[in-house]
């Protein structure tokens, strides 16, 4: 979270993460080189340039698969949530490795003629009607442009300037980049590979990524479909109160999430013997606050650790972010939350569990 523009807010955790990821990528590329040189010898030996192209290309596609699996895995199992924390760093690393691949390819295949290498890349093959001779490089270039756009806007500065909604939509272009890259690999590298290893691995990767997203999406859709009707039959725009359950149903320092019939979710927290409610959507990247917990008296987003006070939805000073709050009450031993969101940062009265028990 930031109170203004600063360069990347590095901390020890981020530095260690970046060093580990860079070392893993370097190790993969070095290992790829070593194995290729050992296995393909004599007449089958490949030049260093070709091996570099294959090593960086496969490294970038593996990184993208990892990135795309983190989101749905975190939705399906809480144990994967920590992987979300620095996912953007992994994205920037993917772009850099893909850029190295693109530079090596352009230089090696198009850099020795009289035509501008980029122009040669775009115009040397126009067999768009052929599957086996398709100009797959175009697909890679389009994917690289998307990855660049995402890497360039990965900083919170852009997140704040573009607004979280626009930023999120922009970064969903990674799915388009993924489809383009699968086309790039299938119509390019795999066409020239007689070994079954590449096709099998690509197929397993595509099945894994698409299945995880479809399963996670289906789980979220089922949650949305279970919208809670108002206990007093009032429309959501007015004083509609939703049943949350008994206070004991809400784990201490955690939340129970209820879904209003309009599909928006409300996180109802229990902390210090009181019940409070806020929107389930974090002001940062829309993280699910209801899956976070109360740390140091503040609701903490499970995605990137942004914090808000339970009673007014304001971030603790010096931070200035605010989220919408909801009124809560306890009626006949049941927690109820008002479906109408109050303006971000509006203080609310917590419902005291002990007072309700003695009422």
């Amino acid at each position: 979270m930031s109170v203004g523009y600063t360069g990347v807010q590095w901390n020890r955790h981020k530095r260690v993460y970046d060093v580990v990821v860079a070392a893993a990528a370097a190790l993969y590329i070095a290992g790829f080189f070593a194995i290729t040189k050992l296995v393909w010898t004599g007449l089958e030996a490949l030049s260093d340039e070709i091996v570099l192209i294959r090593a960086t290309g496969s490294c970038a596609i593996i990184l993208l698969h990892v990135i795309l699996c983190i989101g749905p895995l975190a939705r399906l199992d809480r144990r994967f949530l920590p992987l979300l924390y620095n996912r953007r760093h992994l994205g920037v690393m993917t772009f850099l490795v893909a850029l190295a691949h693109a530079a090596a390819v352009t230089g090696f295949y198009h850099g020795f003629g009289v035509v501008n290498p980029l122009l040669a890349l775009l115009t040397s093959n126009t067999n768009y009607g052929s599957l086996t001779a398709f100009p797959f490089q175009i697909l890679g270039l389009m994917a690289l442009l998307i990855l660049f756009l995402m890497a360039a806007t990965s900083h919170d500065f852009w997140l704040k300037n573009l607004s979280p909604g626009v930023w999120k939509r922009l970064h969903m272009l990674v799915y388009v980049a993924y489809a383009l890259l699968i086309g790039h690999v299938a119509l390019g590298a795999l066409q020239n590979d007689r070994s079954p290893v590449g096709p099998v691995l690509t197929f397993i990767g595509a099945i894994t990524v698409t299945s995880l997203h479809l399963v996670a999406g289906s789980k979220e859709a089922r949650k949305d479909a279970r919208g809670v009707p108002a206990v007093n039959d009032a429309p959501l725009s007015e004083e509609a109160w939703l049943d949350v359950g008994e206070p004991a149903d809400i784990p201490t320092d955690r939340a129970r999430t209820v879904c209003a019939s309009d599909g928006e979710r409300i996180a109802v927290f229990k902390h210090n013997g009181a019940i409070t409610a806020v929107t389930n959507v974090c002001a940062h990247q829309g993280g699910p606050l209801g899956e976070g917990k109360v740390i140091d008296g503040c609701i903490t987003c499970p995605w990137h650790g942004w914090q808000y006070r339970p009673t007014d939805g304001c971030s603790p000073p010096p931070f200035i972010e605010k989220i919408a709050t909801h009124q809560v009450r306890i009626v006949a031993g049941r927690v109820q939350v008002n479906a109408r969101a109050l303006p971000p940062g509006t203080p609310t009265l917590p419902a005291r569990i002990d007072e309700a028990a003695h009422a």
Partner: protein, 53 residues
């Protein structure tokens, strides 16, 4: 995430998942290297017309 974002995620993958798999399967079935019995480099070399060097 808001409901709108969740919906976009689902729509994106419902469209992209079959598209990705169809392109992948079609490309693998049509694989030039398997169908011609030649590797990419060999196909490239065989495509060079014979003539005086």
């Amino acid at each position: 995430m808001t409901r709108s974002h969740r919906r976009w995620h689902v729509v994106a993958w419902v469209v992209l998942a079959p598209l990705v798999l169809v392109v992948l399967v079609a490309a693998l079935v049509a694989r030039a290297s398997v169908n011609s019995g030649l590797s990419g480099g060999e196909r490239q070399r065989s495509a060079i017309p014979e003539g005086p060097r």
